[in-house]
Symmetry: D2
Subunit: 386 residues, 4 copies
Amino acid sequence: MLKYLTAGESHGPQITAIVQGIPAGLPLGKEFIDRELARRQGGYGRGGRMKIERDQVVINAGVRAGEALGSPIALIIANRDWVNWQRVMFSGPEADISSPLVRPRPGHADLAGGLKYNHHDLRNVLERASARETAARVAVGAVCKQLLSAFNIQALSWVVEIGSVKTQRRQLPTEELFRQAESSPVRCPDPEASKQMMALIDKANETGDTLGGVFEVIVVNPPVGLGSFEQWDSKLDGRLAQGLMSIQAIKGVEVGVGFRGSRMFGSQVHDAIAYSEGKRRFYRLGNHAGGIEGGITNGENIVLRAAMKPIPTLRRPLSSVDITTKEEVEASYERSDICAVPAAAVIGEAVVAYEIARSMCEKFGGDSLEEMRRNYAAYLKQISEY
Amino acid sequence: MLKYLTAGESHGPQITAIVQGIPAGLPLGKEFIDRELARRQGGYGRGGRMKIERDQVVINAGVRAGEALGSPIALIIANRDWVNWQRVMFSGPEADISSPLVRPRPGHADLAGGLKYNHHDLRNVLERASARETAARVAVGAVCKQLLSAFNIQALSWVVEIGSVKTQRRQLPTEELFRQAESSPVRCPDPEASKQMMALIDKANETGDTLGGVFEVIVVNPPVGLGSFEQWDSKLDGRLAQGLMSIQAIKGVEVGVGFRGSRMFGSQVHDAIAYSEGKRRFYRLGNHAGGIEGGITNGENIVLRAAMKPIPTLRRPLSSVDITTKEEVEASYERSDICAVPAAAVIGEAVVAYEIARSMCEKFGGDSLEEMRRNYAAYLKQISEY
Amino acid sequence: MLKYLTAGESHGPQITAIVQGIPAGLPLGKEFIDRELARRQGGYGRGGRMKIERDQVVINAGVRAGEALGSPIALIIANRDWVNWQRVMFSGPEADISSPLVRPRPGHADLAGGLKYNHHDLRNVLERASARETAARVAVGAVCKQLLSAFNIQALSWVVEIGSVKTQRRQLPTEELFRQAESSPVRCPDPEASKQMMALIDKANETGDTLGGVFEVIVVNPPVGLGSFEQWDSKLDGRLAQGLMSIQAIKGVEVGVGFRGSRMFGSQVHDAIAYSEGKRRFYRLGNHAGGIEGGITNGENIVLRAAMKPIPTLRRPLSSVDITTKEEVEASYERSDICAVPAAAVIGEAVVAYEIARSMCEKFGGDSLEEMRRNYAAYLKQISEY
Amino acid sequence: MLKYLTAGESHGPQITAIVQGIPAGLPLGKEFIDRELARRQGGYGRGGRMKIERDQVVINAGVRAGEALGSPIALIIANRDWVNWQRVMFSGPEADISSPLVRPRPGHADLAGGLKYNHHDLRNVLERASARETAARVAVGAVCKQLLSAFNIQALSWVVEIGSVKTQRRQLPTEELFRQAESSPVRCPDPEASKQMMALIDKANETGDTLGGVFEVIVVNPPVGLGSFEQWDSKLDGRLAQGLMSIQAIKGVEVGVGFRGSRMFGSQVHDAIAYSEGKRRFYRLGNHAGGIEGGITNGENIVLRAAMKPIPTLRRPLSSVDITTKEEVEASYERSDICAVPAAAVIGEAVVAYEIARSMCEKFGGDSLEEMRRNYAAYLKQISEY
C-alpha cells in the first residue's frame, strides 16, 4: 500500500515526509524532486518568502545508489528561514512564546484551530495549517511521478483562470499546452491571457488585495481500470477530489466537464464508444467524462479542475477580533503572496500523481519495479486481446 | 472509528451494509431509515424501477429494543425485483448466464469495468457499479443522522439547478428553504423554478433524453473544530469532497462560494470575524467559506454543492461497440430515470452526514451516547469560555 | 485490499459478513463454506447449542453463477435459535428487556463491557463478545481458503494439547497428520492422545468444569516473500499473531519453536540454508523459524501455535457480584461447552487463511483471478531464476 | 487517530519517525525520549555497535516550547556510524555498491528479502530489516509513555528468562520489581538469576554463540474498557500481540497465564469478581486473565510476555549458500550482540505503550490534553457510579 505522512511547521526547522510502498529498484533522484520543488516556488505574484526559501530535498532513507530499496523513503526539506525563527519555534521549554498571535485572520484556520486545540497563541495553529506543508506533498508527488514515468504516465497542469481572466480553450496537443504553461509566469498556456493575468496581479498588489483562480491537471496515458466501484471509498474520482480539495485554499473540484456538464442533455455529454483495429482498439469520440466512468479510468486522459480562493492573508487586513480582549481589530499579517494559483497547479499535479500511483500499486502489486512492470505489461496484453 | 462497508448487486437479492462505531444507547429506529429510503426514491423524472422498489430496511444486528448496542449494525434492504432476476443473478452455478450484455453504455463503468475485471458479460460490471448501491449509503446516512440529531446537528439538501434551469437564491431561513424543497417534486425550494424544471424533464422524456443538475447540502449547527489540518487526509473539506464525488454521476463539488469565489478579490471573499457577548460569541459577517477554513469547521453552517451529469442510460441510445464482434452498435438500454438530481441530493445528505458523524466520533470519542454527549457538552463549555 | 467486517449478536437473527477484495472469476461455492462451518461446530466436548445450530451460509452479494464478481461478498448465517430469542433480542422498542443479566461471568467481557458501554443489562455485552461471532470469521476464512487453493496453498490445523494431555510429536507428512486430525473427535492426530483427551473432557464434564488447550495451524506451500519488514504493521508474523490472539479465549501465540526456542542457543535454533538444483533450489535444513524470518515468509511451511484458556462459563459457577445490588453472587450460566479447542483450531485456520490471502493480494494485485495467477506465476519464475 | 510511520536503514544517515494524533498541550521533552533510547541500548551481552551509537533524538516538528502542538511530531535519531558508511549507503548514484553481500544469514530476512524484492545485494534487505529500526519505535513509545503518564498509566518491563535460566516469581510490588530490574545488567528483578544469566551470556560469548529469552511487560493502572470486541481487529489483546510479535526476533506472545493457563481447569484459571466500597469497587481475586477479558481491559494490570529467539548473527557462522555461485558457504557476519533480551524488553514497553495510548485516544478523543483529561475524568466518575 502506497501511503505517506508528513510533519513540519511553516517556520520549524524542516518539513519531513515518509513515503511507504514504492517498489524496490525504482530510479529515484534528488534532482527531479528539487526541480519539482522549484516549480512549486515559482509563479508571478508570490511574496517575499519564496525568495528566501529555495527548497532542496535530502533523501534520508529508502534510497541507495539512486534506486529505491523497497523500504520507506524519508524526505527532508529544510526551512531556510529557521535561523530567524528558532528562538520562537524551538521545541524545548526555552522557546520564546512571549508574543502570542491573538488576531485571527479570516479565511485561515487561525480562530477555529485555536478553539479546537485550545491554543491561545494562534501561531500554534497557523504553523501547521500553513501551505508550507505542500512542499512535502510536492516532494512525495515527485517520487510518485518518477514511479508513473516508469509506466509512461504523466500528470501535467496549467492555469485556466486567475481572478476574472479566463483562458480561451485552444485545440493544441496536451504536451504543447504544457510546454507553453511551463514558460508562462502564471502557468497559463495562452500568452494573451497570461499578460492579462499578470496585469490583474499587479493591480491586486497595488491595492493590497489578493487573487485566486482555476487550474487543470491532466493525467496523460493512464491505463483503463484504475480505481474501483467496489466500495464508495475505492472510487478514483472520489479519491482525486479528496486530494485536490485537501490542498490549502481549494474550494471546488471538477472531473471532465464538471458543473458545465450538469447543464447539458445526456445525449450531448456522454462519450460515444468507438473501435479501431491496431493499437488503439476501444476509444471515445469525446472526453466529457474526463477519463473516469463509474469511478474507474476508461483509458482516456484524466481531466481535473480545481478552484482556488484568493489568498486570505491581505496586506490590507480584514476585520477580526482579539481573542484575548474580544475587541475588534485588524487581522494580523504574515508575509504572503498575492496569487498562488500557479503554485497550486503544481501541487495539484503532485496530489494527483500520488493518487494515480496508489491505484497503480493496488492494481498491479509488486515489490520490485521489474515485478510491477511485468504485471503491468501482462495486463496491457490482456486488454489488447479482450 | 466510525466506518462501513456495503455489498449488493442492483438485481441481487439484497443490499447489505455493516456500520461500525455507533455509540451504545443511541436511539435507532427502522422508521426513520425507511423514511430516508423513501426520500431517495422520490423525485419527478424517476423511471419505472422506482415504482417496483419500495425500500424497507431490516436491522439485523447491533440494535436491541430501539437502541444501539455499541456493536456493528447490519442493515439489509431487500431488492423487490429479485424475484424476476434470481434465475439470472443466482450465486450458484445453475444461474442462467446465457444472455451476456455485450453493448457497453457510454457514461457507465460497463466497458472499463469489463476490461478491468476481465468480464465478458457486462452485467457482471453494471450490477455493482449501479446507483442502486446508494440505497445502502442512504441507510447508513440515516443512522448517522440519528447520531447527529442527538447533538442537534442536521444535514439538509435542495436542488438548485436542473439542466439549464437555475434557482434564484432567496434570503430565507435554511429550515424554511428545506421545508419548501421537501414539498417540491424536484426538491427545489423555489416554486417557479420547480415548474420550469419539471417542464424541462417532460421535454427530455419526450425526446428520450436525460438531465443532470446541481444540488446543495447544508450542515446546520456543526461545532467548531471538526476535521483537522494535521494531515492531508484529515481535512474535512477533502473528506466531504470525496464522499460527494464518489456518488454515482457526480462530476463537480464545491465548498462555500466554490468556483465563483476564485473569480473574486480576497477582500470580497473572506468572512470577517466578529464577536458578541452571550451565546454566539465569535461569529462571521458572511459565509463565503461555507463553514470550513483550513480543513476544519469554523462554526458556521457547512455549505456544499455537487454537480450531477445527466443520467447516461438513454432511451435513444448512444453509439457503442459490441465487445464480442467489435461492430458498431447502439448501447444497451436498462430501464432508467430521466433525471435523478433530487435523489442525488438525498444521497448527498447521507454521505455528508456520515462524514460529519465520523469526525464527531473522532473528536469526542465515547462508547456510549451518554459519554459522547458529556464530552461534547464539556467541549462546548470550553469553547464558550475561550 | 482484502478486508472484511462482521456483525451479529449471538442470539440475534443472523451473523453477517462483508468481504471485499476477492478477485473476479474466483470459483466460490456455498458447499465449501458450509463444510467449514460444520467443521467449526464439531468436536468432542461441545454443549447443547451446537446441536441447535447447523450453520448454513447464504451468499447474498458478490457471487454469480459460482464465480466471484470482484464486488463485495455478503455472507449471511442465520441463527436457528433466533425463534426462541426474538422477543428478547428484537431490534424494535417492543423487545422484552425485563430480565436483565446482572451477574457477570469471570473470564468473559461481561463486567468490563458493562462498564465500558454503560450497559446495565449484560446481555447487551455478551451477545457480541460471544464466540458465535467466529462463525462469520470461519465463513470469511472459507472464502479466503478458496482463493488460496487457486495457488495451491492450504491452511491446516490440529490439536496438540487439551488440558494436561499432550500429543507426542510424530514424524509424519503434514497431510497425513491433518487426515488423522480430521477423523479424531478432538482434532488430535494421535489416536492414543485423543482417547486421553476425551477421557479428560468426560471428567471435566462430571465435575462441572471446563478445559482449554493448544492447537497448531500450518500453512502449506506459501511462496517466499509474503509480508514485509517495511513497517512494523506490515510484518506477517505480527499480523498472524493479531489474528490468532483476537480469537475468543486465546491467550498465547507462537511462531515456529516459539517459547521453546528462547531457551536454546543460537547455533541450535536457526535453520541453515541449503541449495539443490531443480525445483526446490534454496531450502532449509530445519524449520525452527516456522516459515517466517524478518517478518516475511521464507518459503518453508508456516507453523503457528495458539493456547486457548478453558471455557469461562462453568456449570459450577465462579464467584461474582450482582452489578445492581453489589452483593456477592454466583455468576450467571449460559449454556456452554466443556472444551472448544477443536473448534478453535478450525477458527485458527480461518484467521490464518485470511491473513495469508490478504498478503497475497497485496503482493500480487490483480482484479481477476487470471490476472492474479499470471502475476503469481511470473513471480515464481523470477524466484526460480534468482 | 494515533498512528506512526518510521523510515531509516541501519547504516543510513538517520532513523525518522512521524507520530500523528498526540493531543495539543502534552508536555513533551527530548530528555525523556533520550533516556528511553539509552535504556534500549543497555544490557549485558550487547555487541560493539552499542558503544558507537549513543542515540539522541531531535524533535523536528510538532512540539514547541516543550508542549505538543497537536500537529504531527517528527523524531530524528542520527546514526553515528553513518560517517563510516556514507560511501556505501549514499542515496545518490555515486554510492559504492561494489561489494554486494551474497551470503545470507539464517534467521534473518536476508535470503527471503532478496528473493522478494529482487535484490542481489543483500545489504539492501538487511539494512531495513535490522533491529536498528526499533530505535524509532522506542522514541515513538517514549512519546506515548508521556501521554500515558498524564493519566497515571505506566508500561514497565523485566526479563524473566535468558536461555535456560529462569527467574523465580517473587511476591513483590510491581514497582519494586521494576526498580530491581532497572538496576540489573540483564533487567532481571532477581539478583541471583541475574548472576546466572550473566554467566550464561559469558559462556555463549566464549563459544561464539547467542542467547534469547523471555520478558514481561506490565501496564499499571489501565482504565477498564480499552479495546473493543466490536470487531476482530479492535480487540486489544490482538493488537498487543501484533505489536510484540512485530518486534524483531520475537516468536511467542502470551497474555496473563498464557500457555500455562491452557493446561489448567476452568475453575482454576478464571478470576472471581469481588466488590468493596470505596475507591476500588469491582475487582478480581486473581489476575490470570492478565487484565484483558473479551478483548478489553478489565481494570487489572495488563500482563504480557514475549519470547525472543537467540540473536541469529553468530560469530561462529551457520551454513549458508552464496546467492550468486550457489555454493555452500558460511553466512556473513555483521557485528552483533550475544543477547539482546533486556533491550527487547524496553522495546516491548514501547510498543505496548503505543497500543495503550492508541486505545486511549480512540476511547477518549480530544484535541487537547485538557479535553482528553476532562473526558477521562468524567468516564472514571461514570465508572465509580455504575
